[in-house]
């Protein structure tokens, strides 16, 4: 099982609902976030193009953060989801420096925090909070090893890209373009 997420940049409007829903679902303190929105604009008036992306941890298959963690707090969990065990984390921030996507932050309680793909929900058969709330339904989540999962199907049908592929991290976040 390999969990992954695909985000349709053609539909995302950058509303940040995914950010708020994650904050309330996962008790992320105000002032911090596990997911965020990026707008990339190109061109000069009136020849313009813009891509909007909802970003979060890429749950890399080859993740530098897990590799560099001195305590083993950062680890691969169910379906390849990259997780941090709170009470093993000493807050040294080595993982934060190693992550090419700036996906991690130090929680005010002292440990490093990041997106978990809402594993606690996924275990109950629910979608991650961001996927479930998105008003444009632009996010797809599921198992890459299951060819009938929403995410496998949409990746087959549509053109996509990953972020910073040259880092060799094998991200599990796909952006439909």
């Amino acid at each position: 099982m390999r969990y992954a997420m695909a985000i349709d940049t053609k539909k995302c409007v950058g509303c940040s609902d995914c950010v708020v829903a994650c904050q309330t679902e996962n008790d992320v303190p105000i002032g911090y976030c596990r997911d965020w929105v990026v707008e990339v604009m190109d061109g000069t008036y009136p020849q313009l193009e813009m891509e909007i992306r909802s970003e979060r941890c890429n749950h890399c298959e080859n993740s530098p953060c897990v590799r560099c963690c001195p305590t083993g707090a950062s680890h691969y969990g169910e379906g390849g989801i990259v997780l941090v065990t709170e009470n093993k984390c000493i807050g040294c921030s080595a993982c934060i420096t190693s992550c090419p996507y700036d996906a991690r932050f130090v929680h005010p309680k002292g440990y490093v925090d990041k997106c978990t793909f809402c594993l606690h929900r996924v275990k109950k058969g629910l979608q991650p909070a961001c996927v479930a709330v998105c008003p444009t339904k632009c996010m797809y989540f599921g198992d890459l090893d299951d060819p009938r999962s929403e995410v496998s199907m949409v990746l087959k049908k549509r053109k996509w890209k990953t972020l910073i592929p040259e880092a060799g991290t094998k991200p599990h976040l796909y952006f439909l373009i």
Binding site: G14, D17, V20, Y45, L48, I52
Partner: protein, 744 residues
């Protein structure tokens, strides 16, 4: 001017903050779960209660989930709700911030004078109600019931409305009409005999072509419409966006027409020209249903694409191409009427042009165009008839704006000033949930009117600017802490939704129903409030439609089967429209009767002088007007507005990204605060853009005080729509300043 009603600031309020410290609150939260018997367990071991969202007018129905300690954890959409399909927008998801906001109004306040200084003192509810009731009675006795007015936005308005009507006044207005969607309603009524209403009857889900004119879906999170637009994108619909700004939706559009601001009418008329002359219109539809085609055809001959080029700066080829794209998709095409449409004072006419264009394309009553919405009919408990007002709100308008179908907030405000030509003068305001200082244009005017009043009572959850001018402030609890009347929505499928308290009211706050009833009690108007508790009335209503409060507490939303199977027109169906001619009026007989142009004409609007730029404002997806500006969850996403400036302009003025500037408008009004510059290609060189709802001047709102600029402050030139009194706000021009010192 006498400053009897000086603006009051925080210093006088400190006591309230002390009384309700955090420790007390924790103890308070503990027993909530046990106390409220109607809560029940939801699927994730949380307690959940139904609500419908109050953060904007879309009123999405959802569930409030609580954690083991009885604290609100999250708010999630109800899957059965046609308004939201289980998905709230960011503001609704962050609605819990309204409840948690520590700057909320906490207890009733009465204005007093202490050692020559005006101040608010904390009052008991009884004192506050006695004060208001006595003043209302006095004003009624001295000036007649028509001197009382209610300004309202949101659920509580209904209840205060009963008090007002019981006293014999129908001066009840919402700024959402004359300051927002009024022209649209009047224009569609004039054309189709039917308004657009809310939620809009646009069939975006099945459309093949969506035309947005200055409407920025996705930045304005009108939830159902944004969701359906996304469905339409999935199905490959063509989107055409007309906007001087490269909006979010412009970036998703096949065609973006970067029009010169204020020239939309020219484009609309030219589109008609192309569609008629190239015979792209729906001939059968026009022949069967429309009135005045020949006059229209002749009228639009003058508006050629080549002419429009000079006016709009859009290339003739672009105009032709987009007209053809619409016709290709017809009748599954929507030329969207927008929502906030009070721009240039000829707004009813511009929306008439939108209505006419839709008629030419045959989209009204067609799948993928405009469907025929239905609303559930929920009977009301019988109460005595309200006395007939001696004078209605119309008379406050001095014989103007006969086609307005609802009262004008701006009109009532004007009628509060002593002028000889108006029917009567308004002396007392009840203001419910609307920050008139920021919703009515021309602040100086509003402030002047306020000085003339004998009473201003304000009901709100937050210390919005308007509360600073009140004689009495009534702190309302948020929608998460109260019952409200059922939501009865129009749509493809009618539905009703329940709002019930998830938690008890925090601080010394109360629901509007209770407040209005307490005031009614003191005025001998209890007959209009037969139920002591609102939930009993709701239960009675629900029983009439075959459900109950108990059932609705469990399901939250009930869809109701349509009574008529008439979502779209049948093929060749004979239809009588509710207009003078019984037809869709391309030529409006109603407008002609009132002495207005029966077919829209293009009028040139003023342009910015050298060194000035047109002030354009809009929405951000994480905020609703100024109402959410202090919400801790939402300010976390956006805590100030920025000023979009084209790089060419930035260069000319030597402006850098993230630099703060003040703005001065054409009338010499300088902004109180400064705004951060965002240099971007996404805005035309003749305009600047900001999101509405920032630049709050009330220090009691700590998170938003002084953050960004209030566009309203700079909107002093208001272009009134002669047809229905709408207040056009897009004719204001600003220039940059590096300080806000007024010249001596």
């Amino acid at each position: 001017m006498n400053s009897r009603r000086q603006f009051l600031k925080i210093s006088s309020l400190s006591a309230a903050g002390l009384i309700f410290g955090g420790g007390l609150l924790d103890a308070f939260a503990e027993n909530l779960v046990k106390k409220n018997p109607s809560h029940f367990k939801g699927p994730f071991d949380f307690v959940r209660t139904p609500t419908y969202c109050e953060v904007c007018f879309w009123k999405c129905a959802g569930w409030v989930y609580k954690d083991e300690n009885g604290r609100i954890k999250k708010i999630i959409g109800n899957n059965d709700d046609p308004n939201c399909n289980g998905r709230f927008c960011p503001r609704g998801t962050g609605g819990v911030g309204m409840y948690n906001d520590e700057d909320r109004l906490k207890t009733p306040l009465i204005r007093t004078e202490e050692r020559g200084e005006q101040t608010f003192r904390e009052a008991s509810w009884d004192e506050a109600f006695d004060y208001i009731a006595a003043k209302l009675q006095k004003v009624k006795k001295e000036h007649g019931p028509e001197s009382l007015a209610l300004f309202s936005h949101g659920s509580g308005g209904k209840y205060f409305g009963k008090v007002l009507k019981g006293l014999g006044s129908n001066n009840i207005a919402a700024p959402s009409y004359a300051q927002c969607r009024g022209p649209r309603e009047v224009a569609f009524l004039a054309t189709y005999g039917q308004g657009i209403n809310s939620p809009e009857n646009t069939d975006i889900r099945d459309t093949k072509c969506l035309v947005l004119i200055g409407s920025h879906l996705g930045e304005n999170m009108h939830n159902g419409q944004v969701q359906e637009m996304s469905d339409a994108i999935d199905k490959g619909a063509t989107i055409i966006t007309v906007d001087p700004r490269f909006s979010t939706v412009a970036s998703k559009s096949k065609f973006w027409l970067p029009i010169k601001p204020s020239t939309d009418m020219a484009l609309l008329l030219t589109w008609m020209n192309v569609i008629i002359n190239e015979e792209l219109y729906d001939k059968k539809y026009v022949e069967k249903y429309c009135y005045g085609f020949d006059q229209l055809k002749e009228h639009v001959q003058q508006y050629t694409p080549e002419w429009a080029y000079g006016v709009t700066t859009l290339k003739p080829q672009q105009i032709r191409e987009t007209a053809r794209a619409m016709a290709d998709a017809a009748p599954a095409v929507i030329v969207h009427p927008g929502r906030h449409v009070t721009w240039y004072g000829d707004d009813t006419q511009r929306l008439r042009a939108v209505a006419i264009l839709n008629a030419l394309l045959g989209s009204w009553g067609r799948r993928g165009g405009f469907y025929n919405p239905e609303k559930a009919s929920v009977p009301h408990y019988k109460i005595p008839k309200f006395p007939k007002p001696n004078k209605s709100w119309r008379e406050a308008l001095g014989g103007k704006y006969n086609l307005a179908d609802l009262a004008l907030a701006s009109g009532l405000c004007d009628a509060s000033m002593p002028t000889p030509d108006l029917g009567h003068q308004i002396k007392a305001w009840i203001v419910n949930g609307t920050n008139l200082i920021n919703t009515l244009p021309n602040q100086a005017n509003t402030l002047k009117a306020i000085q003339e009043l004998d009473l201003i009572a304000v009901v709100d959850t937050m210390p919005m600017e308007i509360t600073g001018y009140a004689d009495v402030v009534l702190p309302e609890c948020t929608y998460l802490e109260r019952y409200d009347s059922l939501r009865v929505s129009q749509g493809r499928e009618p539905s009703i939704a329940l709002r019930m308290p998830a938690v008890d009211p925090k601080y010394n706050t109360k629901p509007a129903y209770w407040m209005a009833r307490e005031i009614a009690k003191r005025l001998d108007l209890l007959d209009y409030f037969p139920f002591e508790n609102l939930e009993d009335e709701i239960d009675w209503e629900l029983q009439q439609v075959g459900t109950s409060l108990e059932e609705m507490q469990r399901i939250g939303v009930k869809r109701i089967k349509r009574e008529y199977d008439d979502l779209y027109f049948e093929k060749n169906e004979d239809i009588e429209f509710d207009t003078n001619t019984g037809k869709i009026e391309l030529y409006s007989t109603a407008l002609a009767e009132e002495g207005f142009e029966p077919i829209p004409v293009f009028v040139q609007h003023p342009e910015p002088q050298e060194g000035f730029y047109r002030l354009i404002y809009g929405r951000a997806p994480m905020h609703t007007f100024s109402r959410t500006a202090n919400n801790p969850n939402l300010t976390d996403l956006m805590d100030e507005n920025t000023l979009w400036v084209n790089p060419k302009v930035a260069k000319e003025w030597d402006l850098k990204n993230d630099q703060y500037v003040y703005l001065e408008n054409q009338d010499g009004i300088i902004s109180d605060f400064s705004i951060k510059v965002r240099v971007t290609e996404r805005i035309r060189f003749d305009s600047v853009y900001m999101v509405h709802g920032f630049g709050h001047a009330d220090k009691r709102m700590k998170r938003c005080f002084g953050k960004g600029i209030s566009d309203t402050q700079l909107i002093s030139n208001v272009m009134i729509d002669p047809i229905m009194g709408g207040t056009g706000m897009r004719g204001n021009f600003v220039t940059f300043r590096f300080d806000n010192k007024k010249e001596a």
